[in-house]
Symmetry: C2
Subunit: 170 residues, 2 copies
DNA sequence: GGCAACTCCGACCGCGTTGGTAGGATTGAG
DNA sequence: CTCAATCCTACCAACGCGGTCGGAGTTGCC
């Protein structure tokens, strides 16, 4: 499993806020409303939205009739930011560490007697695929998708026809 | 983190076998040799290679001078098969279940009052990216990459220039 | 002022998975 | 026979995930 429920719930929450944000006078939405609307545990949502706030993706107003709203327009919220805030990072393997100077990704066991870590090529490609999907999707896309149904699902998704990639018996 | 060490060790193991398989008279390689060569725990490797054998990706000969060898040529071993055997499946979220009749992926909470689960679009795109990277890479690619160094890393990988996607403080 | 509705914050906890280890049974070459 | 290898099952510590609880701070409204 790639993502946990943090990402799932967090994105659902943002979509809900994104719907509200298009109204003429967008009022802040309380977590209680969202929790009931999406059938999610309120206390858990609180911790999730805290991550989004720390990343400056949402803003909050406290007190009665308070709540949350988007810090930017849905078109300007890319999903790589969101997932980074919620899940911490998208790295395919634990051996992927960041060289904090250059920002380049590299592998722990590089020095394996001459030939570098052969698996690196694979993990780089996988990560590239994930990152591209994340960067190419905005919150506005998801909000629109929620309205119009399944339209746009095939845009760059290329659902594997021959390989089910289904959940096995395990 | 997307993959566990099962995938990491398993792929390393296959790469090692892939190197051997190109010799004129390919002898089976014992796990002990691989474990020492890659600095991996032998007992754990045994369990991992069992998964590969069950998926008919490797063959074994028992007894003295026994060991493992690839069941096919490295060019015919695609990484989606390998990861499926090792990790069980590649699904971005727990809510992705397989409709075992059609093989189509769908989501648990479809009926959210009219507008379908809006996050589905995102997870489909992500999964598509992963699956395409996995299907587009063969064991032969990894073996060749291990020899020639970093050549070929950019082939379709599109390393994100502006987004470090680095491991954060967490 | 006081209450109710919110956000905020830290501690706690059961559970399943991950990453190993231990120990032995079986098989085959020399 | 003996040694080297695969095979197989059980066991275990540590960790992260998903979630709860209780309380403290903030604000609108009567």
């Amino acid at each position: 499993m790639i993502f946990t429920t943090k990402a799932e719930y967090g994105v659902r929450l943002l979509v809900e806020l994104g719907r509200q944000s298009r109204q003429p006078r967008p009022q802040p939405v309380s977590l209680k409303v969202i929790a009931e609307s999406e059938s999610l545990p309120l206390a858990y949502l609180e911790r999730i939205v805290a991550l989004l706030k720390k990343a400056e993706l949402v803003e909050s107003t406290r007190g009665a009739h308070g709540g949350y709203r988007l810090a930017r327009a849905p078109e300007d919220i890319r999903m790589d930011e969101v997932v980074l805030a919620l899940e911490g990072a998208v790295a395919p393997m634990t051996c992927f560490v960041d060289d904090s100077d250059t920002g380049r990704v590299l592998c722990n066991h590089e020095e394996d007697k001459g030939h570098g870590c052969a698996t690196k090529l694979l993990w780089m490609r996988v990560q590239g695929g994930v990152v591209r999907a994340l960067q190419g999707t905005t919150l506005a896309d998801l909000v629109a998708f929620g309205e119009h149904g399944a339209a746009g699902l095939d845009g760059g998704t290329a659902r594997p026809e021959d390989a089910p990639i289904a959940v096995p018996s395990s």
